[in-house]
Amino acid sequence: MKGYLGEFEELVLLTIAVLGDKAYGVALKENIEERTNRNLSIGALHSTITRLEEKGFVESWLGGATNERGGRRKRFFKVTQTGKVGLHNMKSLRDELWKNAKVELAFDKKNQA
């Protein structure tokens, strides 16, 4: 489905937004791994980014040559306007669902844990 944002895709997209102008492969990977406590392969990450690019949510460019990685350039990512719209849609959908939930979703984390 065009424009549909999967769970992991949303995660990657938000992380790109979080990292701002330092969003490139390794940074994304480590950031996501840190937050979600799960292991990511570069292949999976880049596949998702490729899908996001195809949907027009993300754009990328090559940075300049670097010293720390054998002179190889980094590819940086940025959330596009479409990406922002997509995130907004997702968020408002969630907010609406939260608001209309018949069950009380709010609870005290400390008590539950």
Partner: protein, 882 residues
């Protein structure tokens, strides 16, 4: 830690990724992986980090992201071969070709020669594809072809283009898909007698619906009924012009040989691109009438005659062939139910497949044949290949000069593919220039080629039309790719550091001796063709001087054309220059079709015997040698009851000696007895191609077709004009046709002369290409060794010694070529001659030595032209270069 940092990620996965997706597309990914690796290495054991690296690489390799990148890249193309670069390649190519003039000239010449034969093959092929494409209903027209199995003879499994005439009616009745059937009979081969001229015409008897099925254009007359009714004839425009000039031929009566008068009911436009070959079309309804008058044998309604007639079918549906085939099988099963007798099966062949299809016996018109075409293309490649390899070889030989340019290109970012492209384009420029040269050669040999395939001139005009031109252009580019592949690959792989440092060693081809193999191969090929020409010429000479067993000089064979033999004898006999006159039904030493079978009552076997009707003067006139018995007698009534046989007949029939046979009576198949009156020594009554078989002379004035005049004349022109005058008195308007026997026999050798021409042409092509290749090799090898020669000279070597040193290697290659080519040529022609001529010459030492000598003279002249110059050069000049 600093030690640990020096550990690098494994190279292989990087290479794999680079290879899979080209480096620029995966650069950032590999960068990410490297970065992770360097981080990991601080946390874990290097081996584990490397394992992880591998894991990442593999995950990437099969990931969606990478696949997409690869796709995108193949679509857009990362390489910079855009218009500007092409322009640059083109410019650089032109400049480098202009700079290396000798190289360019050698290659253009070589490729032109190499491509010329290919152009000829292509043009023929394109012409052939057009054959019979003009019929509007071509998708639905099929021909019935026949596979016969005559169990009474040893010949079996004969594929015929013809079929039985009875099939047409049977199919129309039984096969619902058959809309129309057109019958052909191709035995119309007559002379039209018109006023004082006599014009030979060939054509077909065919059905009235001919114009309905085939799209031939009728210029005059009504296509619906032009061929309706007996003795109607349709002529081609050319024939009409020959017969009547510019007068309107419609409705005129023409007298055709002995067949009677025909009325012209139509004029048909000459169609070039068809397998039918005719001057006239005669209504099929004429045939039964003629057959009734016993003027022709057409085999009408005879299921066992599959050679006289042809049947073409028009289906009502394109896909009806299959269902009709079943009907054909049914008919064949029904008609040929006696297993011991003649048997035939029928097949269908689409009209558009005829000209390119398999070769069948008794074909109706011109068919080129699938295998002939394959052979033609094979020969073209055989000539083209050495030319292309020459190009590759020469290009690489001069790599020393070109390498710096490549190195520089690579240093400033030129990719392999770009260098590759550059050389392919350079080769394309050369090959397009060569195409012009090849076209020139093509135009020059075109008419000669058409002359060799005599009948082909009608189908093959070999004009350069748009499709032909496109085919040529495609061929040129194909050649470019073919020739440019090896050098382009070689140059694109050059190491830029080596090239700039000047340490490039001569081409890889040279290292492994491919170059030598190439030259040896070329020389072998050339020698083969030279030998072919000399062997063919020898066989030709052999046949010309062969003793046929009869005298062939000064015998003039005059066609009787229905004149009374006695009248001819008395009138011509009056001329002083005519020594003696005899009569015969055919000409000795040429093809003979009349044969009969003699029945042997004891062995219950029959002897197939060729026969010739002659008069009593024939044997002395041709100086045939009568071994025993006597000749036919003049003015005796019972001459017809006797035969004179040859020695082979005695052998076949089972007589032990000529004397035993003398006076014996032999029975023909129809039980009529003939008595052997004499035995002649074996002589070649057929062309040399055929073995002498059983033969007999018979006596019957009714069958005489030729008067054989023995002439002794000091002025042949005058004698001929005297003969002409005498003929005119006898025959009036009919022209005399006469030919000397030795001329007739020489004409039979036209096949050999064609072979000599073909092999001569191939030989010239092959030899020129090899010599050009050799010249290029010598030029560059002496150039590369110029300093060595200089040093040797300074140290005291003389010019002669140096020349020998430089030429020695090439000389060796030519010797090797001889050892390869001579046995191959010897066995090839030994085998070929078995099929071409029963009476043949041997391949002697003279031909082999002569051919080899020609090759060596050419080769040595080529080599010496360069090496002598190199060896004589002043060492000061060559050494000062430093």
């Amino acid at each position: 830690m600093s030690q640990r940092l020096r550990i690098n990620p494994p190279q292989l996965p990087v290479r794999i990724l680079d290879w899979y997706c080209t480096h620029p597309a995966v650069e950032d990914l590999i960068g990410d992986m490297d970065e992770l690796f360097y981080r990991n290495i601080q946390k874990m054991h290097p081996l584990k980090a490397k394992m992880k690296y591998w894991g990442q690489a593999m995950a990437l390799l099969f990931s969606y992201g990478l696949r997409k990148r690869k796709q995108k890249q193949s679509k857009k193309g990362y390489s910079q071969n855009n218009f500007a670069m092409f322009k640059n390649y083109f410019k650089v190519g032109i400049r480098s070709l202009a700079k290396q003039k000798l190289f360019t000239i050698l290659n253009v010449l070589g490729l032109s020669i190499g491509m010329s034969l290919g152009l000829l093959a292509l043009a023929s092929y394109v012409d052939m594809l057009e054959v019979d494409q003009f019929h509007e209903k071509k998708d639905r027209i099929y021909r019935v072809i026949t596979q016969s199995d005559d169990l009474r003879t040893v010949d079996f499994d004969f594929g015929w283009a013809s079929t039985t005439e009875a099939l047409a009616a049977a199919l129309l009745e039984e096969a619902p898909a058959v809309e129309q059937a057109v019958r052909f009979n191709d035995n119309f081969n007559e002379n039209v007698i018109l006023g004082n001229t006599e014009i030979p015409v060939r054509g077909y008897y065919t059905d009235a619906n001919f114009f309905d099925v085939f799209s031939f254009e009728l210029v005059k007359g009504n296509p619906a009924n032009a061929l309706d009714g007996p003795f109607n004839i349709v002529v081609t425009e050319n024939t009409a012009k020959k017969l009547f000039g510019n007068a309107d031929p419609m409705g005129k009566l023409i007298t055709v040989g002995s067949l009677g008068n025909f009325q012209i009911t139509g004029v048909i436009r000459e169609a070039k691109r068809t397998h039918f070959l005719f001057d006239v079309l005669v209504s099929f309804e004429t045939l039964p009438v003629l057959e009734q008058q016993e003027l022709v044998e057409a085999g009408l309604g005879d299921w066992n005659d599959v050679v006289s007639n042809y049947v073409y079918l028009l289906f009502n549906d394109q896909n009806a062939a299959e269902s009709t085939k079943q009907v054909l099988d049914k008919i064949s099963e029904r008609q040929y139910n006696d297993p011991d007798k003649f048997e035939a099966r029928f097949y269908l062949q689409a009209i558009t497949d005829i000209s390119t299809g398999e070769e069948l016996n008794n074909d109706i018109g011109l068919v080129w044949g699938f295998w002939v075409m394959i052979l033609f293309f094979f020969l073209s490649l055989l000539i083209l290949l050495p030319a292309c390899l020459n190009y590759a070889n020469l290009s690489i030989s001069r790599s020393l000069k070109r390498a710096k340019e490549i190195g520089l290109r690579k240093v400033v970012g030129g990719q392999k593919q770009q260098i590759f492209m550059q050389f392919i384009i350079e080769t394309s420029i050369i090959s397009i220039i060569s195409l012009i040269g090849a076209l020139y050669i093509f135009v020059m040999v075109r008419s000669e080629f058409k002359a060799i395939i005599i009948e082909g001139a009608r189908t093959f005009d070999l004009e350069i039309t748009t499709p032909t031109f496109l085919a040529f252009l495609g061929f040129g580019l194909f050649t470019a790719l073919f020739a440019g592949l090896i050098p382009a690959h070689y140059f694109s792989k050059l190491n830029p550091i080596d090239t700039l440092r000047g340490t490039v060693t001569a081409g890889s081809l040279a290292k492994i001796g491919v170059r030598k193999v190439l030259l040896v191969g070329q020389f072998s090929l050339s020698l083969f063709f030279i030998m072919a020409v000399s062997i063919m010429l020898k066989q030709h000479m052999y046949a010309l001087t062969y003793d046929f067993g009869f005298t062939k000089e000064n015998i003039l064979d005059v066609q009787l054309k229905g004149l009374e033999p006695n009248l001819v004898r008395s009138e011509f006999g009056r001329l002083a220059d005519v020594n003696s006159i005899s009569f015969s039904s055919s000409i000795a030493g040429s093809w003979m079709s009349s044969n009969t079978f003699f029945w042997h009552p004891e062995t219950n076997d029959s002897v197939s015997t060729f026969q010739m009707y002659v008069d009593h003067n024939y044997i002395p006139n041709l100086e045939l040698q009568l071994l025993v018995g006597e000749n036919f007698q003049a003015s005796v009534p019972n001459n017809e009851d006797y035969i004179i046989v040859n020695e082979k007949f005695l052998e076949d029939y089972g007589f032990d000696s000529p004397h035993e046979a003398l006076g014996s009576t032999v029975l023909q198949e129809d039980d009529s007895p003939l008595t052997i009156r004499g035995v002649v020594k074996d002589f070649n009554f057929m062309p040399l191609r055929e073995q002498i078989t059983a033969f007999c002379f018979r006596y019957n004035p009714q069958y005489y077709a030729f008067a054989n005049l023995k002439i002794t004349s000091s002025n042949i022109e005058e004698t001929l004009s005297q003969l002409d005058q005498t003929w005119e008195k006898l025959a009036g308007d009919i022209t005399m046709e006469a030919k000397f026997l030795d001329d007739t026999l020489e004409e039979a050798l036209v096949g050999f002369r064609s072979m000599v021409k073909i092999f001569g042409f191939l030989g010239i092509l092959a030899v020129s290409i090899s010599c050009l290749g050799l010249l290029g090799m010598v030029v560059y090898s002496s150039e590369n060794r110029i300093k060595e020669i200089g040093v040797r000279k300074v140290m005291g070597a003389n010019s002669f010694g140096l020349t020998m040193m430089l030429s020695g290697g090439f000389f060796k290659m030519m010797v090797i070529a001889c050892f390869i080519a001579i046995p191959i040529a010897y066995f090839f022609f030994d085998l070929l001659f078995l099929n071409m001529a029963y009476y043949r010459t041997n391949i002697g030492i003279v031909e082999i030595a002569g051919s080899t000598a020609i090759l060596f003279i050419l080769g040595i002249a080529t080599v010496a032209s360069q090496t002598v110059k190199a060896a004589r050069a002043n060492p000061v000049d060559s050494l000062r270069y430093e």
